[in-house]
Amino acid sequence: MRLEYFQMLDEIEHFDSQQAILKARAAVPAESPVFEGHFPGESLMPGVLLLEVMAQASGYLILAMNGFSRMPFFANVKSANFRSFVRPSTDLTVSVRRIHDGSGYAVMSATVERANEVVCDAQLTMRNVIFPSEALQQHVWSEGRRLGLLDSRVA
């Protein structure tokens, strides 16, 4: 993870397009300016960033399934539960499943675990649109290649 760059996923552990599921590793760094403010003397991974982990895993599942042709934007979250504190230097596993494939949107179920203990879960809706800019498309494709979800031969 590089929190300051919103780079939340480190490695894809499993992707199954038939089942519409993805599992990824997300390692919380030992140090980050984020922890200087959240909180002084008591470093905790912010809940909003755990939500971002689930949103990015959801997004990359959708991207992998649509061939990185349309950009999933985080549109809605329901039933988000933050069940325990997450501290620096924690290895997390995020698992997402597409529970509904709509027209221009998808509804996802997401769970973040630490050593098989659920630390947070949520239902997220992602709105899938044409990439709004070439720069964003190139960035997302680059991240897709880094994570091994997009063929390195794609420009």
Binding site: N76, G102, Y105
Partner: protein
Amino acid sequence: MASTFETVANIISSVSDVPRDQITPQSHVMKDLSVDSLAFLDITFEIDRAFTIQLPVDEWLTAVNEGKRSGDDYFILSNLCSQIDAIRATTAAA
């Protein structure tokens, strides 16, 4: 068994907090009921689930944005319900 309109009106009421008695077949989902795009996403999800279909909202919006169709064709409730019935009939026949 509830009619398509009853089911859709109940969904809109529960998702958007519009009082059920204000929803009529002549209501335009956005213009009359003030449903915004995010709430309509929730409504679409609930309709998809209730009828086990996939409303082709993307195609509809493209047709409206390109001036090929009027938004009334899809977002006035009686028309929306007709669209749902047509999709269900096609799905059942397939």
